[in-house]
């Protein structure tokens, strides 16, 4: 039973980011003129992602390289990775030098891209329902609740948190079943920093890149 719950949340996890982040180039161009409402943005993005996934047997067959390409070229501009990294690192962010902050941001971005391009290959038959955006705690922050619907299972709540920057809305957090995918790293990062300093965290994130994936089974 516990196993099943873990199944649901991990399935949600594997779908959360990919759904958030794949507008078409045409759409991206459109937003420069005037900011699209955040819920319209999420809806349009998720429609594009689902269409792409349904028409890409390569990605569904496990080609994470192709999925990564998709994310790299189209998705990245719509995320604020500096803000995300800052949230993940927490109070230690301010004790990092600008160089360390830059390095952390790049490594954390790569980590998320690697993870979720692999997750994209897990897509099967789920659909996404986007609900009206609601106000966040600040005037320039909006939260867009969505539900991932899968036959025979309880819908999974995924909320996107966006901030307006100039005339664009940028995603800086994704909350799956009440759990921030970004803040979920904070304990891990704080523990690493308390043991090995900020450079220790940077090294761990670098090592992560060379961890065996897929069938390479032995973790660590």
């Amino acid at each position: 039973m516990m196993l099943k719950k873990t199944a649901t949340l991990l399935a949600a996890l594997s779908l959360a980011l990919p759904f958030a982040v794949t507008p078409s180039p045409a759409f991206a161009a459109e937003t420069t003129a005037q900011a699209t409402a955040p819920d319209a943005l999420v809806k349009d993005i998720s429609t594009q992602v689902l269409d792409t996934l349904r028409n890409s047997p390569e990605i569904r067959a496990g080609d994470s390289g192709k999925a990564a390409e998709l994310i790299q070229t189209i998705v990245l501009p719509h995320f604020d990775f500096v803000r995300m990294t800052r949230l993940a690192v927490g109070k230690n962010w301010r004790s990092a030098t600008p160089e360390q902050q830059q390095e952390l941001t790049g490594l954390f971005r790569d980590l998320l891209v690697r993870t979720y391009s692999n997750a994209l290959t897990q897509y099967r038959d789920q659909t996404l329902e986007v609900k009206p955006a609601r106000a966040g705690a600040a005037a320039d922050i909006m939260q867009v609740p969505t539900e991932i619907v899968q036959s025979g299972a309880q819908p999974v709540a995924v909320e996107y948190v966006l901030q307006k920057q100039g005339d664009e809305w940028k995603v800086f957090d994704i909350v799956v079943m009440g759990t921030s995918l970004v803040i979920n790293y904070r304990n891990t990062f704080e523990q690493k920093i308390s043991q090995a300093g900020i450079d220790g965290l940077i090294q761990s994130l670098k090592n992560q890149e060379f961890k065996p994936d897929a069938t390479g089974s032995t973790a660590k």
Binding site: M1, M2, L3, K4, K5, T6, A7, T8, L9, L10, A11, L13, S14, R83, R86, L87, R94, L111, R114, T115, N118, A119, Q122, A137, A138, I141, S151, G152, A153, Q154, A157, E159, Q163, D173, V175, V176, M177, G178, T179, S180, I183, N184, Y185, N187, T188, E190, Q191, K192, S194, Q195, S204, L205, N207, Q208, K211, P212, D213, A214, S217, A219
Partner: protein, 253 residues
């Protein structure tokens, strides 16, 4: 045989659950003494070393037994069959889910859950088809641990259970009750079906072990923190979400 076993064990299991969860009510959510030490200790995880050892055990067990079984199962069953299997187990679960909804005072939900069971068991051809969900009766997610939480039992420390994975002391105490309440005890093929249940559940998770491995250099901590947060979210039926005060403090400084 197993049926009689489960009947006679039930009172004992209930007692165990009460003892464990009774202990659980004190140490929940006391985030002091963590900052005193130079190394950050997770306040909700005082048994971290043991938990990590069990986590490694689970990963090895998974790699050696569960994952190969799940892959084999997935290879020999067409997807429509697996969906039917999923629906069938989910349908049986609705009985206990409905009971817990009732115990938590959510009577409309409880009626919904039991109505789901009735519709799916009949019109849904014995539970192989979930006609209740598209028919406007949503699936809920309840268990005895959530019921105890609604009754005021604190979650207690984080616990990594062998085989069952992440839990809290409260939920670990409630697990035997959930297991004892399984309708599978009432059929003759209890153990084959229980094994099928596990293998099927694992098959739905194929790929997520890689996701977890890639997502972090500390899989244990990632899973623990995710579990604890989403568990609180479930207990509150979606009201308790990530603390945003903290989030916006970070943004504003």
């Amino acid at each position: 045989m197993f049926r009689t076993l489960s009947r006679s064990c039930l009172p004992a299991l209930c007692a165990l659950a009460v003892v464990l969860t009774g202990c659980a009510s004190t140490p929940a959510n006391t985030p002091d003494n963590a900052s005193a030490s130079s190394v950050v200790v997770h306040p909700g995880d005082p048994w971290e070393q043991t938990n990590r050892a069990i986590f490694r055990f689970n990963q090895n067990l998974d790699e050696a037994v569960l994952l190969p079984l799940a892959k084999g199962y997935k290879a020999i069953t067409p997807q429509p069959v697996r969906i039917a299997v999923r629906n069938w187990f989910n349908n049986l679960d609705d009985l206990w889910i409905g009971f817990n909804s009732m115990l938590q005072g959510k009577f409309a939900n409880g009626v919904n859950d039991w109505a789901r069971f009735i519709f799916n068991s009949t019109l849904g051809l014995g539970g192989f088809i979930d006609i209740a969900s598209p028919g406007g009766m949503p699936k809920h997610d309840e268990d005895f641990g959530q019921t105890l939480a609604v009754w005021g039992v604190g979650e207690g420390p984080f616990v990594m259970l062998p085989l069952f994975g992440p839990s809290t002391l409260r939920d670990a105490g409630a697990l035997p009750v959930d297991l004892a309440a399984s309708p599978l005890w009432f059929v003759d093929d209890t153990w084959p079906l229980t094994i099928l249940h596990f293998v099927h559940a694992r098959s739905e998770l194929i790929g997520t072990e890689d996701l977890l491995r890639q997502a972090t250099f500390d899989e244990y901590a990632y899973m623990r923190d995710f579990y604890l947060q989403q568990r609180r979210y479930k207990v509150s039926d979606g009201q308790a979400t990530q603390s945003y005060d903290d989030l916006y403090d970070e943004l504003n400084d």
